[in-house]
């Protein structure tokens, strides 16, 4: 299945792009665990500088980097005001610096790893969870079904919107009910297709 155009992945040839998904995920986990030791503004700054440098290595422009943190602007401003008020600028910088660091580093993994490589890494990791009842093949199947549902639901949304504007209604309820009922019928068809392909019941 073609998942190349669907994700947040930015194609490239940098060392970060070429690194294996599992390696990058382990590195990110290590950074997450290690971040508890970043307790001074100097170490936070050094770590932030490292991540910013890695964006340059990956060939990603500053605009892309800033876009990763923009959605949390409202909360970041609130947290900044709180910490400046109660503990001063340095404390505010340390707390927010670690959050920015982890968000930027995590986004870097996403930006340099195609969805298909992530799926493979997740399915491979699930092999180790077999004894806990996780079936990697079934996990791979449900991930593929879920990915398939993204363009499918985009189409349904467009259809329902069209029908809605024809009737001149704009309420969320008048949008959601037909959307979900149509989606349930799609699920019936999808379930039958799975049975036909020998996915057991």
């Amino acid at each position: 299945m073609n998942t190349g155009t669907l994700g947040l992945y930015r194609p490239g040839t940098s060392p970060l792009h070429r690194a294996r998904a599992g390696t990058k995920l382990l590195g990110l986990a290590a950074l997450g665990l290690g971040s508890v030791f970043l307790t001074t503004w100097q170490t936070v700054t050094a770590a932030l500088a490292l991540v910013v440098a890695l964006y340059a290595v990956a060939g990603l422009p500053p605009r892309t980097m800033l876009r990763q943190v923009r959605p949390m602007l409202f909360i970041v401003v609130f947290v900044a005001v709180f910490h400046v008020w109660t503990a001063g600028w340095v404390r505010a910088y340390e707390v927010l610096g670690v959050i920015l660091l982890l968000v930027l580093a995590a986004a870097l993994v996403t930006l340099t790893t195609p969805v298909s490589a992530m799926v493979d890494a997740v399915v491979a990791a699930a092999g180790g969870l077999r004894r806990f009842g996780v079936d990697p093949e079934r996990l791979g199947l449900i991930l593929m079904l879920g990915i398939r549902c993204v363009p499918l639901m985009s189409t349904l949304v467009a259809e329902v919107r069209e029908a809605q504007s024809a009737r001149g209604t704009r309420s969320l309820r008048a949008f959601a009910v037909p959307l979900i009922v149509r989606a349930l019928r799609e699920a019936d068809a999808m379930g039958e297709a799975l049975v036909a392909r020998g996915v057991d019941d």
């Binding site: 994700g7 947040l8 992945y9 990110l28 997450g32 990763q68 959605p71 949390m72 409202f74 909360i75 970041v76 609130f78 947290v79 709180f82 910490h83 959050i99 982890l102 968000v103 995590a106 986004a107 993994v109 996403t110 930006l111 790893t113 969805v115 992530m118 997740v122 996780v134 996990l139 199947l141 449900i142 991930l143 079904l145 879920g146 398939r148 549902c149 993204v150 639901m153 985009s154 349904l156 949304v157 969320l172 309820r173 949008f175 959601a176 009910v177 979900i180 009922v181 989606a183 349930l184 799609e186 699920a187 019936d188 999808m190 379930g191 799975l194 049975v195 996915v199 057991d200 019941d201």
Partner: protein
């Protein structure tokens, strides 16, 4: 995915409701003059998914949605996604989604068919506001080291929108169950015994 095994139809429903969660994120946010934050439709999904396909399938659908988001699909409102979404101050809300969906599904299954809007309102408010905010505000305190009152204040602007969603979700669930019966087990009535459709 886990024991007990899901049927093919369950797998399809899980995938479709992960897709519905994405689709609700495509609804343009509603800006209300008195509130500093827009109302987004995506978080309706916990209440809708739980009250339409129940605890187990619903919880797995939202879990699938989070996994698909984490592996790099831009499924969150505004086209966001990736692992970075789970590192920010609001990650506790995301983590809470599958659990809240499971809880809403469990309580809705207890009430049984036909779906009752009155019960749905209470269930949605308990799961979608009280329990979800426990996760969201707990995560925010851990992540940002704010005090509880400050974290509560930071989230207060979202409450009016969430109350609106409690009502919309119950009405939509009622509409869907009427148009597509059979997803919920019939309510057991005292004396009459089990009347399973």
């Amino acid at each position: 995915m886990a024991t007990p095994r899901s049927t093919s139809r369950d797998l399809a429903l899980i995938a479709i409701f992960a897709g519905i969660t994405f689709a609700l994120g495509l609804v343009p946010p509603l800006y209300v003059p008195i509130s500093p934050v827009p109302i987004t439709a995506q978080s309706l999904s916990c209440m809708l998914t739980g009250s339409i396909i129940g605890a187990r399938r619903g919880g797995l659908a939202l879990l699938l949605f989070l996994v698909l988001t984490a592996i790099g699909l831009p499924l969150l409102s505004g086209g966001r996604g990736g692992i970075g979404a789970f590192m920010g101050p609001s990650a506790g809300f995301l983590i809470g989604w599958p659990i809240v969906t499971w809880l809403i599904g469990l309580l809705t299954e207890r009430v049984g068919a036909p779906y009752r809007v009155g019960a749905g309102l209470g269930i949605n408010a308990l799961g979608g506001i009280v329990v979800l905010y426990l996760f969201g505000i707990g995560g925010m305190i851990l992540r940002t080291q704010m005090t509880l009152p400050a974290a509560l204040l930071a989230n207060a602007p979202f409450i009016p929108g969430d109350l609106v969603k409690v009502v919309i979700a119950a009405l939509v669930a009622k509409g869907v169950h009427s148009a597509y019966p059979g997803l919920l087990q019939q309510r057991r009535t005292a004396g009459a015994g089990a009347t399973v459709a």
